[in-house]
Symmetry: C2
Amino acid sequence: MKKSFIDVKTDSHFPIQNLPYGVFSTKGNPTPRIGVAIGEYVLDLSVLEKEGFFQQIIGEHGPVFNRTSLNDFMGLGKDIWSAVRKQVQLLLSADEPTLRDHTALRHESLVLQNEVELHLPMKIGDYTDFYASKEHATNVGVMFRGKENALMPNWTHLPVGYHGRSSSVVVSGTNVRRPVGQTKPANADVPMFGPSKQLDFELEMGVVIGTGNKLGEPISIEQAEEAIFGLVLVNDWSARDIQAWEYQPLGPFLAKNFATSISPWVVPLEALEPFRVTGPVQDPQPLAYLRQPEANTFNIHLEAYLKGEKQHTPTRISSTNYRSLYWSAAQMVAHHTIGGCDLNPGDLLGTGTISGQEKEERGSLLEITWRGTEPVQLGKDEQREWIEDGDELTITGWCQGDGYRVGFGEVTGTIEPAHDVKQLLSEQKLVHK
Amino acid sequence: MKKSFIDVKTDSHFPIQNLPYGVFSTKGNPTPRIGVAIGEYVLDLSVLEKEGFFQQIIGEHGPVFNRTSLNDFMGLGKDIWSAVRKQVQLLLSADEPTLRDHTALRHESLVLQNEVELHLPMKIGDYTDFYASKEHATNVGVMFRGKENALMPNWTHLPVGYHGRSSSVVVSGTNVRRPVGQTKPANADVPMFGPSKQLDFELEMGVVIGTGNKLGEPISIEQAEEAIFGLVLVNDWSARDIQAWEYQPLGPFLAKNFATSISPWVVPLEALEPFRVTGPVQDPQPLAYLRQPEANTFNIHLEAYLKGEKQHTPTRISSTNYRSLYWSAAQMVAHHTIGGCDLNPGDLLGTGTISGQEKEERGSLLEITWRGTEPVQLGKDEQREWIEDGDELTITGWCQGDGYRVGFGEVTGTIEPAHDVKQLLSEQKLVHK
């Protein structure tokens, strides 16, 4: 098994088999730049690039690692991603002396993760959210339309998706303010205005596009995985009461666009290869442009934790798996572009909430508490129907190898109280950007 | 009445009262830069800025006009937009000699519009589309859900909107390829795959955001117009057969994201002031965060023309007005941000199809032909239920002043035939961007 000269614990998310990319800065150098996570360290790729270690791979396309986002690097395509990954893996290997025995370079290029600030890893041009879990779509359908009409007729024929808001995608650790808005309780005649009372999370993963297509030129299902740079964890915060009132007929809008949190490390698709598995049987067989051979997905264990403000330990409230998704990432890419829509480096495709068949595999409070009717226990003393102010929601996930983990770190966020509604609209809020 | 030393015809869209901003390039200088339209000319603001004419206004924030998009200029805020507009108006005035009598500077800064290429005027971070015309929403509702349930219960309480796709917004003149995709005719058991057979346009206007807000900090209804830089014409191309099959429950996706065309000139809100009028009475009165005094909209006459490939003259198929929209641009901004969603310079808010009460005021073929059942006559020999290959669709619009027009130019696009479905998926389509 590959080993690094850097000590990596067996339950670390970031062994030499992973090497996810992120954007970081330090107190000493506040300019964001690109690094990879290794054990408890970040390897600063901008330093290695400056020293010429990627010259033969990237050549005139560089420099790409002294940038504030991964977009330029991602735009270079799969062959270059792969060659860079090989080179970083070599430089970090236990038996490769170049970096291992070069004290000055090691000091300059390796920074402890707890001493860095992590930023949004890519500039997201467009964010799309799918609805790819059959169990999630069924649960929601049963709650809102009853058992008979739970799944819409189109659901098994295409990966249902919609456009999300890219400007409000934030990196893990960013506090999220409880949104205010219009809601209309079932027994009310007119809508009300105030803070959302049904704040929820959605456990998702995000597909990060690396190589795009020209407008009008679809990406085939065979090429689709080549367009994908890697995956991140996503928490698609949702205000269920706002959603219920606003979403017909054009879909969710303010219920979703106040914030979407993602994990800071993008795990390259190549690192997931050892964990390739076959997804659920698709019946009916999809149309040709969506048809895929087996082994079209990955075995990624996923968990969500909730912690009240006064609590010391978070409670695990969900335990599910990426492999249970009915529609694969490649199918999302092929469907998204079939009509000609162009994808670009840095675009984010959310999978939608990932729920499994078991109760503990549900990926949102909407499902876990069955729309607030079955509160979930937090520790000994507290219960939750929905997320409360001060609550911290964390999603984590990893692929379990033999003696190592290829992990995604975590995406976490804490809820701040809503604005005081009276004060809310009296202040000047325009800012020059 | 203000006059320019440049000759401007009375039916020109671009008198000194307008001065819309755009991004252009020339054969001699292919680098895109910012100009304003005046009569048949473009005034190159990057030349004037280099010569110091905006030094006292923009100062250290500049240069902003030698850019490939308006975003940096728009981010400077309303006071600077206004001062720049005054300065340009002064320089173009008939009785101001600075530019008028400076032959070399005039030659360097004034270019004929028919000698320039126009580009997308702004970099669009996010595109949102509203559904703000009551007549349009009612027409669509009657067709799809019947008269009794035409308007959803939320419609009169909030401006219904959804997120669109920003990457596929293209500038007027860009050809649009007919999309292929899944459709399911009412009498079919399973969906089919092929070119859309119900290709449509939507006559809309677009609100271009100039000054944004911080995530979590809403823009009040009182401030909302200050956030708006100006307006453009929008054609939100739509594939109705794809839409009908895919849109439940999360809204339109591939039916809309293959292309949205906008006009190249952004008319500043200030140029529309003389045409301010009061919109439709809102009953029920909206919640406080959406409540506005009178004179919250503008009198903008709008027309759509369709021309078959073999035809010489386009046929006017719609004649409507921006003022008929139920929800105002300011209400869209206030609603969009009330939950905390951030807007940024360059964001585009489409109004949704603008239909009026009369039959000739319908802004889409869906409504004009009543879902294909009442074909529209084109010239003497042709009819249309939907848009055919080779058809050219043009939207234009203007405010009629006393002896002058403040116009939007036009947004036009021609439909290219769909890809051959068999060949479609066999070619390598990934591109490095």
